[in-house]
């Protein structure tokens, strides 16, 4: 059974290779090859899952050693896969949601002439992501880690003729690289501490290492997680990443890749457990991001960017949970899975809306779409209810647990974190209701608007292929797109409940992550009640602001906070001024220094030697008598020297 693990990765990898190297011949069937490969991988995953379920909890870890990768003395990196409960969960999520989104993309990308390449990239992403979660050592994980970064780069910049897309892709890669730096330093630290970076030996000996070393490793891992999961302070790339096609946003920037940071922290649970200071850092990052993302999400008018803010915020929840230690690991993963469903569903719904609205992304130009897109409305609505934590939908179970766990942390810390999480829940309810109201309810603001001038660049260039209309004709998307949305909606509704029956998810994951019940100062019921109150407040305010009053189709100026939030709380501006501008000045002055100083010293030496030679050359005046004087003088000096030497 172990041998199947490699096939999980191999199938999409083969798909990517075939699609990318195959050339134009495969244009006609390329997308189906992509779907096939991803589904194949899903089938393998299901088989493996069934196999795992049939085993005892202690024997649910499968190891497949493929080959020795980098052997240099004590540095031994192997290509080895590990399939345990944690990675199985991820594999199912990735291949399942991935396959659905593949299917969806068949419809969404139908008119794009480079659809084959798109599917090649998607398959590449799947392979890298599976490698990430299946790796048995940190270095192999790093391969997957950067691999998903590459796929993300390629897909964000898929419409690379748009400079904004190319820039966003580059930005995503670079910010991720900063995080990757953290991961590679963490690996080096592990190597110097343990002499290895394979999961097994590291985790079993983590207790022997000093706390300082563990804290350092854990902080570096946190840096990596921040980069990949768009946590403060490395969150700036996620909003821009929405330049990519919407299925990409759904798959990579909502459901799977961005949650890799959470995976990393949970996977390294042993290390974090041994480093309380690092855990504090993790919860602080999680809490700050959860509020940060939520605030940003409230201010954005671009539907995808609003959802991106939401993603950031929800991952903040997960990171927060992961930082709580054994109390929270399982819930972090649980929220991750449920979030994978409903956020993917939300993004697909947003894609469907855009598909019907000529790729318009500004929610102020939507409104009243529920009549035109019933399926999209229903699936989106279910996702909406799930994310705000409507009782007995997926989000309710997972988010509630996290808030409980936050309180269970105990002490002042617990109160602060719990309050943050509650406030976050209220804000989530607010901005999601806002999205819902602006998109599907209210007056139809897309009608009778001034025609777009032909010179204006279209928001998404794919629109060119679909025909540019002055006024959109909203319509429901084709079946190939709606089916995945319906499936995901089912997931959004039932996954949480399913996981919570008998705490099945908890028991499933416990052998890997460990679990402990904290002693919460507040009873579970009270927390649920408080959450509900927050939910109602959030929805109510949103309804008051956007349901009762007409939404202006041009954004009002807004308060200082709103304006700041629209600009991602000025973090980008900070980056721009300090890093980009500063960097430009630095490189420019270095180029100058290189030319004038480093090169100048050498050139100056050369020039002065040249000048000296020029002077000396004048002595060669061609007159034999001059030369004779030199000879004669030289002879005189030699005689003098000889005499002197004899005298001495």
């Amino acid at each position: 059974m172990e041998n199947l693990i490699a096939l999980l990765v191999a199938a999409p990898l083969l798909g990517a290779a075939v699609l990318l190297c195959g050339g134009r011949r495969l244009d006609a069937v390329g997308h189906w090859i992509g779907v096939l490969m991803s589904t194949l991988s899903f089938v393998f995953a299901v088989i493996l899952f069934a196999d795992l379920l049939g085993k005892n909890a202690e024997h649910r870890t499968l190891i497949q050693h493929l080959w020795t990768w980098i052997p240099v003395e004590s540095f031994q990196a192997d290509v080895t896969f590990r399939l345990d409960q944690l990675s199985m969960t991820f594999v199912l999520l990735i291949t399942g949601v991935g396959s659905l989104i593949h299917l969806y993309s068949v419809g969404y990308m139908e008119h794009d002439e480079r659809r084959r390449r798109f599917f090649g990239y998607l398959n590449l992403f799947l392979a890298a992501m599976l490698l990430l979660v299946l790796a048995d050592n940190y270095l192999l994980l790093y391969v997957g880690w950067e691999g998903v970064g590459l796929a993300s780069y390629l897909l964000i910049g898929f419409w690379q003729h748009k400079p904004s897309a190319a820039t966003a892709a580059k930005k995503a890669f670079l910010v991720n690289r900063v995080g990757d730096m953290g991961l590679s330093i963490a690996i080096m630290l592990m190597f110097t501490t343990f002499g290895t970076f394979a999961f097994g030996p590291v985790f079993s000996h983590a207790g022997d290492a000093s706390e300082g070393k563990l804290t350092a490793i854990a902080l570096m891992l946190l840096l990596a997680a921040c980069g990949k999961s768009a946590q403060v302070p490395l969150q700036s790339w996620l909003g821009d990443a929405m330049e990519g096609p919407t299925p990409v946003s759904a798959l990579i920037h909502a459901a799977t890749m961005v949650t890799a940071g959470v995976y990393l922290i949970v996977r390294s649970a042993v290390i974090f457990n041994g480093a309380p200071d690092a855990q504090t850092a993790v919860v602080v990052v999680g809490a700050v991001t959860l509020l940060f993302g939520a605030i940003v999400g409230c201010a954005k008018d671009d539907i995808k960017k609003a959802l991106a803010g939401s993603t950031m915020s929800q991952i903040g929840y997960m990171v927060l949970a992961a930082g709580l230690g054994p109390i929270g690991y399982v819930f972090a993963i649980m929220h991750l899975v449920t979030h994978g469903f409903f956020k993917a569903g939300l993004f697909l719904g947003a894609g469907s809306v855009m598909h019907g609205m000529n790729d318009e992304v500004d929610m102020r130009k939507y409104g009243g779409l529920r009549k035109y897109m019933p399926i999209t409305f229903i699936t989106f609505g279910l996702g909406y209810l799930a994310i705000i934590g409507f009782p007995f939908l997926s989000g309710f179970f997972s988010k509630d647990k996290i808030i409980e766990a936050a309180f269970a942390k105990g002490g002042t810390e617990g109160w602060i974190l719990g309050t943050c999480a509650l406030v976050g829940a209220a804000v989530t309810a607010f901005y999601m209701t806002r999205v819902m109201l602006m998109t599907f309810f209210g007056e139809e603001r897309w009608k009778n608007r001034p025609t777009r001038s032909p010179e204006a660049p279209s928001a998404e260039p794919a629109a060119e292929h679909r025909g540019e209309h002055a006024e959109p004709h909203p319509h429901e998307s084709p079946k190939v797109m709606t089916i995945p949305m319906i499936v995901l909606a089912f997931g959004s509704v039932f996954a949480g409940g399913l996981f919570s029956i008998n705490n099945s998810f908890l028991h499933w994951l416990e052998p890997v992550t460990g679990h402990s019940e904290g002693d919460s100062p507040v009873s579970a019921g009270a927390v649920t009640g408080a959450t509900m109150v927050c939910l109602v407040i959030g929805v109510g305010i949103a309804y008051a602001m956007y349901g009762r009053r007409p939404v202006p189709s041009v954004a009002p100026r807004g308060s200082l906070l709103t304006r700041a939030a629209r600009r991602d709380l000025l973090q980008d501006d900070f980056n721009h001024v300090v890093l980009v501008r500063g960097g430009e000045h630095l490189t420019r002055s270095l180029v100058y220094v290189d030319h004038t100083l480093v090169d100048g010293v050498v050139n100056g030496t050369a020039a002065s030697v040249g000048g000296l030679s020029g002077r000396m050359r004048r002595l060669q005046n061609g007159f034999a008598r001059s030369y004779a004087v030199s000879m004669f003088g030289g002879a005189a000096i030699i005689v003098a020297a000889t005499l002197l030497m004899r005298a001495v």
Binding site: N621, S626, V629, F632, A636, A640
Partner: protein, 280 residues
């Protein structure tokens, strides 16, 4: 100290007298070789110095060399020098004016320094031993030299012979000019002149009217200026053209003045006037 040894250390008074007188002559000759303006004078001074040296050789017991010095050096080599001086003639290079900046001062400085060093070196050296040639010249100086040359130095001698021959051949090669192409006929030369647009007719003759017919005097152009074309190229190169134009004009003016005085004419000077015009 035996008288014989003493004799080796000092020389007779006669020789001392001869040294001081002739030595002075030699130094003066050397100096005038260097400082005489004309090469001929230099050559003659050098010849004098060499004769003095020949006498010194004789005084030092080198009878053969003394004679050879007179015969070969003064007789042959110096004549060769004079011959070349005659061939080359007097040139502008004879001027003692220095053209290279600082050369003279440097040369004098070096010379002075070197001389002082040499003299100091000799003065410092412990030249106590003085054997004299009485023993070596016992069988005659020429025989003694011959014995050395044909035994100890025979290879050097042979090689020197080869050197001499090589030098003779070399000198011949250097001065001999082989014609590498057919000499142009007069016709071809004239055609070439026409082609090149050069001065086509025969060159004008030197000399001024019938008064100066020496070859170094340029003929006058109609306006009274001398034409360098009339003088041979060699003289031109040496800068040895005598300009008599002013003289002719002066003569003319004197003649006219005399005629004026005699005929009591008032002067009309069309010639001068025209000349001024032309010179503008």
């Amino acid at each position: 100290m035996s008288p014989l040894q003493l004799a080796a250390y000092s020389t007779s008074t006669g020789e001392a007298f001869q040294f001081w007188v002739l030595g002075t002559v030699a130094v003066i000759g050397a100096l005038s070789t260097v400082f005489m303006k004309k090469a001929v004078h230099s050559a003659l001074s050098l010849a004098g110095t060499m004769i003095v040296l020949a006498v010194f050789y004789l005084a030092n017991g080198a009878y053969f060399l003394g004679i050879v010095q007179i015969v070969v050096y003064t007789g042959a080599i110096m004549m060769l020098f004079l011959f070349v001086v005659m061939l080359v003639g007097v040139t502008a290079a004879d001027s003692l004016k220095e053209t290279i900046k600082g050369q003279r001062w440097l040369a004098l400085l070096c010379g002075l320094g070197f001389g002082i060093l040499l003299l100091a070196g000799i003065g410092n050296a412990s030249l106590k031993q003085f054997d004299g040639l009485a023993e070596a010249n016992a069988n005659g100086n020429v025989q003694g030299l011959a014995a050395l040359i044909f035994t100890k130095y025979v290879f050097a001698f042979e090689i020197t012979g080869a050197l001499l021959i090589t030098a003779a051949v070399g000198a011949m090669v250097l001065t001999h000019r082989e014609r590498t192409e057919r000499a142009k006929t007069q016709r071809e030369l004239s055609e070439q002149r026409v082609r090149e647009g050069k001065y086509v007719p025969p060159l004008p003759a030197p000399g001024v009217y019938a008064r100066h017919n020496a070859v170094d005097i340029a003929g006058l152009l109609p306006d009274g200026t001398p034409s360098e074309l009339t003088v041979s190229k060699t003289l031109r190169d040496r800068g040895q053209i005598r300009d008599v134009s002013a003289e002719a004009l002066n003569d003319l003016r004197a003649l006219e003045q005399r005629a004026q005085e005699r005929l009591e004419r008032t002067e009309i000077e069309p010639a001068t006037f025209k000349r001024e015009e032309a010179s503008k």
